[in-house]
């Protein structure tokens, strides 16, 4: 009796299993016309970036679908959590490609993750459109540099490092710098490019430290910086760590004496509130910020704030903008065929809220960086700067 029951159970469960196995395919067949995957850090230390990215992308997708889609085709958005780590980012990408069957992927925020995703997208011939990673290597090795399926709609650290170093030296007269950046592909590469350009402006680096994600104790390093006489701290850091550092600068009496320059969301209300005195005069180069003065940008801020009850950050904007860019590429390609969309993208002339976007032969968008300075507790925009990238010769 038990034997038969077990056997029957086995038959039933096998039947159920095979049914379940066919289900996703059935679901796939009936799903939307354009499948777009989003890889972002939904959990872990960078989860806030992920949430903003998702909201930005979601808002653009909803707007496009409500307006009738692209030539009648609707977009379906699939999320995958990279947790901000390359390992999880790769498996999230695989999940999107193998299980959800997406044709286009936008991701990741973190450069280390994007670098790991590139070969995966290349193998599957899925279009990887990066919206928020700034490590130059990503497009050094894209387009004519190697990966045909990677595009980036975001300015690079090289651009940023040059602009920040130039402004700090020429407008503020700094010559002595201390480095305190995050220990990642983003933080380290930004500093490498700063070192490349700093000698042009007669600047020198007095100390160099990198912090791990999740580090909370900066007293030792800040005391060292206080004693070595640096005028500014070059910081390419994480938004969530900036308030901790700013507070400890206040604690050690560095606030008002040493200026933060670089990038790490120095300009948000929350960060400034955590230690106003430490952030006064801080200089930051960002791809975008809510105060940017253009009608399309202002309209985005207004709609985002109304929808999600908080002001958008840089990551929300770039993901929103990148979905729109992709939509235009699909429209120009006349179909959602990956190869056609890729070709359309390399020839596109897209009007974004910060200016016209075109791609170079490394699939890198030509985009300006916006420079701002914190004055009396609010960010004040000092201009938008573009710098042409000199790609290293192939094989290097």
């Amino acid at each position: 009796m038990t034997q038969t029951l077990t056997r029957r159970m086995l038959c039933i469960s096998t039947a159920l299993l095979s049914l379940a196995a066919t289900l996703p395919f059935a679901a796939n067949a009936s799903a939307a016309d354009i499948k777009l995957g989003l890889v972002a850090p939904m959990s872990g230390p960078n989860a806030r970036y992920g949430a903003f990215s998702m909201h930005g992308a979601e808002m653009a997708v909803n707007a496009i679908n409500e307006a009738g889609g692209i030539n009648g085709m609707k977009i379906e958005l699939f999320n995958a959590d990279s947790q901000g780590t390359p390992v999880e980012g790769v498996s999230a990408t695989r999940r999107l490609i193998d299980q959800d069957g997406v044709d286009f992927i936008i991701g990741d925020v973190s450069s280390s993750v994007t670098l790991a995703m590139q070969p995966v997208a290349e193998d599957a011939e899925v279009l990887l459109l990066n919206a928020a990673s700034s490590n130059p290597k990503i497009t050094y090795q894209a387009g004519v540099g190697g990966f045909k399926w990677t595009f980036r709609n975001y300015p690079t650290d090289e651009n940023r490092a040059l602009i920040v170093a130039k402004y700090a030296a020429e407008q503020r007269g700094f010559t002595k710098f201390a480095v305190l950046s995050v220990d990642s592909d983003y933080g380290r590469s930004a500093i490498n490019f700063t070192k490349k350009y700093l000698p042009e402006f007669k600047g020198e680096i007095l100390s160099e430290d990198y912090y791990k994600e999740g580090e909370v104790d900066f007293r030792s390093v800040l005391a060292k910086i206080r004693d070595n006489g640096a005028q500014a701290i070059i910081m390419y850091g994480l938004a969530d760590t900036t308030p901790i550092i700013a507070r400890q600068m206040l604690e050690l009496g560095l606030a008002g004496k040493v200026t933060l320059i670089g990038n790490g969301e120095f300009n948000t209300e929350k960060t400034i509130k955590s230690a106003p005195k430490a952030l006064e005069g801080a200089v930051e180069a960002a791809a975008w910020l809510p105060q940017f003065d253009s009608p399309a940008s202002k309209a985005f801020v207004e709609k985002f704030t109304a929808t999600y009850k908080e002001a958008p950050n840089n990551h929300a904007y770039v993901h929103w903008d990148t979905v729109n860019l992709l939509a235009q590429a699909i429209k120009e390609a006349g179909s959602a065929d990956r190869t056609k969309v890729r070709d359309a993208l390399s020839k596109i002339k897209y009007t974004s809220p910060v200016g016209e976007v075109t791609f170079d032969d490394h699939n890198q968008a030509r985009l300006p960086m916006i420079l701002l300075q914190i004055e009396n507790g609010v960010p004040s925009i000092k201009g938008a700067f573009t710098a042409d990238i000199e790609y290293p010769a192939p094989g290097k």
Binding site: M42, S43, G44, P45, A47, R48, G50, A51, L180, D183, E208, D209, Y210, Y211, K212, G214, E215, V216, D217, F218, R219, S220, V221, A223, K224, D227, D240, T241, P243, I244, R247, Q248, L250, E251, L252, G253, K270, S274
Partner: protein
């Protein structure tokens, strides 16, 4: 030069105090259970979240939030203790590892699920800097140092003189004999566990104002910093833990100053490896206990 060194030593002592309060709970739990509590950092996290919740959602003052946070953590620890930790008396070591790692995942993800994975901004505490011996230090850090000393004096007295303290020592020496002379082992285990978790929560609430940000995954780092400390201190040894925490705090601070911040996290485990080669039974035990 000397002044920099002294300042860094003081920084190290403050960092060490935070580690010490968390680690002592973990070492006491090890004493009675013979199991490393891999979820210990999560009680630190729960304490911080409790205080953050009390301040942001209930509008309480920082002082009251400390009480709320510790009580809330004790309730969670009591439930976990009743359901899981009590069953681990006499169980093989691997079941302890699995059970506590599982609890760590559950606690961490419940918090992320409830409050979201993003960073929260901790508003309370005494963050104004004061000058002491020519060094500038947040008031909160002095508070941490004082509380740490009080906790250790208190624990030392409790372990030596109180009935619970004596029972804890007895359980850590021989579980079977405790049963023979009528000590309720499982109740001692439960009480030690709740006390240990409460201390972790206390450490979390005290550190939150200077660390500013609060997030679901913050306990992990604490667990991994605590592990080398309790091994260095001699597992189950309260006094040893205090000195081991201070040594690690000071060593980290000096490495961050003179070598580089990026090497800071390697200090704990490098020290641990040296320790295991040289004195595998801990710095302060006269002999191997196990």
């Amino acid at each position: 030069m000397f002044s920099t060194l002294l300042e860094q030593v003081i920084n190290g002592i403050v960092t060490g105090s935070v580690y010490a309060i968390v680690a002592v709970g973990m070492t006491m739990i090890f004493g009675v259970l013979r199991a490393i509590n891999f979820a210990h950092g999560e009680y630190y996290m729960l304490g911080t979240f409790g205080a953050w919740f009390a301040i942001d959602f209930l509008g309480l003052s920082y002082e009251l939030s400390i009480v709320v946070a510790i009580l809330a953590t004790m309730v969670v620890a009591y439930v976990v203790g009743q359901l899981v930790m009590r069953r681990m008396v006499g169980a093989p070591a691997e079941s302890g590892v699995l059970a506590t790692l599982g609890i760590a995942l559950i606690l961490q993800n419940s918090i992320i699920f409830t409050f979201g994975g993003g960073y929260k901004f901790f508003a309370g505490g005494y963050i104004e800097p004061v000058e002491i011996l020519g060094f500038s230090l947040a008031q909160q850090r002095i508070l941490i140092l004082v509380v740490c000393l009080l906790v250790f004096v208190g624990l030392e007295l409790m372990v030596t003189y109180s009935r619970l303290g004596k029972a804890m020592r007895a359980v850590s020496q021989n579980v079977e004999c405790c049963g023979v002379v009528g000590i309720d082992v499982s109740s001692v285990v439960l009480k030690t566990f709740v006390l240990g978790a409460a201390l972790a929560a206390l450490s979390g609430v005290l550190t939150a104002p200077v660390n500013v940000t609060v997030y679901g995954g913050m306990g992990e780092i604490i667990t991994f910093k605590t592990l080398p400390i309790i091994i260095m201190g001699g597992l189950g040894n309260v006094r040893g833990t205090f000195f081991a925490a201070m040594i690690l705090g000071i060593a980290e601070s000096l490495v961050a100053t003179y070598v580089g911040l990026q090497y800071r996290d390697t200090v704990g485990f490098a020290t641990l490896i040296l320790m295991l080669m040289w004195r595998p039974y801990g710095l302060f035990s006269t002999q191997a206990r196990f």
